[in-house]
Assembly symmetry: C2
Amino acid sequence: MNHLYEKTIKSNSIYSGKIIDLQVDEVELPNGKTSKREIIKHPGAVAILPITTEGKLILVRQFRKALEKTIIEIPAGKLDEGEEPADCAKRELAEETGYVTDNLDFLLSFYTSPGFADELIYMYVATGLTAGEVSRDEDEFLDVIEVTLEEAEEMVRDERIHDAKTAYAIQYMRLMKYLDK
Amino acid sequence: MNHLYEKTIKSNSIYSGKIIDLQVDEVELPNGKTSKREIIKHPGAVAILPITTEGKLILVRQFRKALEKTIIEIPAGKLDEGEEPADCAKRELAEETGYVTDNLDFLLSFYTSPGFADELIYMYVATGLTAGEVSRDEDEFLDVIEVTLEEAEEMVRDERIHDAKTAYAIQYMRLMKYLDK
């Protein structure tokens, strides 16, 4: 047995929503004592780093209610039930930005907040983009912008870009420049 | 007025917990229609990239109930009420790993899941480490490990490291190597 394992004694479902569910688990700790774990269940998501033939990034500006402000991110969206991440990436890129491509390379996946949520983001790099039609969710409003890597880095510094997946993607592009790929 | 702004019509508090709160807001969208936003409130957190004098990383292995598995991360922890992020970083590093230092450099902050949560992580690089005493939260169990950058990158590839803040930190170290800093 894993010496760090926490055994579930009881799991209480608190809320079941449109995007997230909340459950509170009573667990037995490795030392035999009990504790509570608050857990958000999320269907998972994709994020796409779309790079134009001129080497620019396509970003989206949107209002995030959880933050009560507008921030700039790489295109992203949650997985539909049973949807393959690569299909979701292609769909979200097209819906949010209008760009279509068959050149999607999987980069990595990561949990965003393992302390309390199971959200897993699959990240892709999209190249060979051609302009198509935008078709967003009915409750989705955003601006599409195109920036250089240097402009994106400036946006990270002044916190117009202020989220983990986008900061990772921009740092990745910078690293690739040094690796001359 | 911001053309992407979503006005709150009503905010319903669903759950108030130890680490997170859940509220569901009814909002007026930019087109005048209404929608619901599920929002997790979190006190914010810090993450620390501790680098030894030999250039190795200090990481922690812990069981994450939300994932039902053990993963390896950089040391991290949530802010106490009114606590300065830099003080929290020093405290969490000492509590989790036993290492103490006054050399903490702020790297950047980012939201982990802006689509549904307001958790903001402040990231620091810690150097000049000296071994002290470990003193963890009573419900906190973890192993401390020391790895090279190459080993950490291997752990990202095989998903033993599988979270955004740690992937960012390791990519940052790789980038610094190319920049020869």
